[in-house]
Amino acid sequence: MKRSIGTRTEISSPTAPAITVKNLHKSFRLPTEQSFGLKQTIFNRLRGIKGYKEQKVLKGLDFEIKQGEFLGIVGRNGSGKSTLLKILAGIYYPEKGEITINGNLVPFIELGVGFNPELTGRENVYMNGALLGFSNAEMDKMYDDIWKFAELEPFQDQKLKNYSSGMQVRLAFSIAIRARGDILLLDEVLAVGDAAFQQKCNDYFKELKKHHQTVILVTHSMEDVKRFCTRAILLESGKIIEEGDPHKVANAYTKMLLS
């Protein structure tokens, strides 16, 4: 029953690579035949059934991200992209291998984490800000800008449940782009919204690239990979099958989908 655990170390060095990943493995235990609950677990133990199935998601990844790189991670659904991102973000534990994170990493697995429909827009902004590591004083300073950028100023004191989903995304995005970290992790979060919103996202990416911000972007858009990334990785069933020039990787991905 005991699970082995790999290491995830955080360091702070001006010269070291932003992220180093060595021999990273991860598997999940998927419960089989309703093994939830105490009763089933005891039954399963007595009958010698494990009650779960081991699903290998990442099978030995090795890569490095240099400071200032804009790395794209692409791959089909279920190839392990999101799992990799969650391990980098420290949400999941690596099962085997070593991860070294150099500097402060800000993950966006989803926009508007902690948003609660029963709270007002104002309260949600502070909550979300706290999750991104902003203090109240810092939030006070950028508060007006957030609403102006989201173009939602009249709705500040409305409960979030009265916002349309588009409005919620706009608000969340408007907070998110103010987060500053040495490394930004973005998981397809920006692939939503209308054309005007997409334009704002593109501007944001351009800005990040211009300032040599270290970014890891998980995406299905080969357009974005070619336009913004300085390097890319193609994942397929838990392994890196192509790595390097974004155009080369994007083409390999497209070819893989067509074959």
Partner: protein, 270 residues
């Protein structure tokens, strides 16, 4: 092993925000709002007072019995609220745990801080009632603080221990609900301990070894009347007397160790 910076700046902000939301959401949509934090225990007290003191005529030999009873029910409500919220916290905040990385104990502590705030408000009511009832203010009132802290640490230990098991085996919630019901009668809240002591001194001693009973009796002793029977003045053996404190420490340490070990997989399992 790296020692985590227990409350760095980011974690402090998060703890504050989560507690604030918890508190706001609790009474959202109710006309009386926060007032319910006060009304609920007062109503429970009114029911118990009518049934036990007036109808069954229990506790007439204890000075200031109504306040004595209110004090007990207030502390009991705190204990049940604190433990059940704490045990549920990981599941309630599961959505957050799956999307962002932060020390998991924060959600447990924040859910319990709400209970602690409620207790603070309610203890003020107890003090007001005590003064109306003719209890003289005393320096010993400050001794209530360590006893409340003990009760809180016990709840924290229970929440860590059962909460981390509850992530995988949700049965814990139901088991704890029943256990709390049973515990209510094992702690001298509605009946005075002197009633048990009258029939069996041994039974009274066993009851007083329960840390919840010990803490509640200590608080009554210091806040309301020194005529209260406590673990310290009823049990003479110095080795037996420390059992309640020892118990709290063991639960807290076992809880912290279990939680630390299991919390690595909360995001996957919740």
């Amino acid at each position: 092993m790296k020692i985590p910076r227990v409350l760095n700046r980011k974690n402090r902000i998060l703890l504050k925000e989560l507690t604030k939301t918890d508190f706001k959401l609790r009474y959202q949509g109710s006309v009386l709002g926060y007032l319910w934090a006060l009304l609920r225990p007062l109503m429970m007290f009114a029911i118990l007072y009518i049934v036990f003191s007036k109808l069954l005529r229990i506790g007439n030999d204890i000075p200031h019995y109504p306040v004595y009873l209110l004090c007990g029910t207030t502390l009991w409500s705190f204990f049940t609220e604190c433990t059940s919220q704490g045990i549920q916290a990981i599941i309630v905040r599961g959505d957050l745990l799956r999307k962002i990385s932060f020390p998991k104990y924060i959600v447990v502590v924040s859910s319990q801080l709400t209970a602690l705030i409620n207790l603070g408000i309610n203890l003020i009511v107890v003090v007001v009632f005590a003064l109306i009832n003719g209890v003289a203010p005393s320096w010993s009132w400050f001794l209530v603080i360590p006893a409340v802290l003990e009760l809180y640490l016990l709840s924290l230990g229970i929440a860590f221990l059962l909460g981390s098991i509850n992530v995988k085996y949700r049965d814990i919630t139901s088991i704890w609900d029943v256990l709390v019901q049973a515990l209510f009668y094992a702690v001298p809240i509605i009946y005075p301990i002197s009633m048990v002591a009258g029939t069996s001194a041994l039974a009274a001693k066993i009851i007083l070894l329960n840390p919840i009973a010990q803490a509640i009796q200590d608080i009554r002793f210091n806040l309301i009347t020194p005529e209260t029977i406590t673990t310290w003045n009823y049990i003479n053996n110095p080795f037996i007397v420390i059992i309640p404190i020892l118990f709290v420490l063991i639960i807290l340490i076992a809880g912290a160790i279990t939680f630390r070990k299991k919390s690595k997989f909360f995001a996957e399992e919740v």
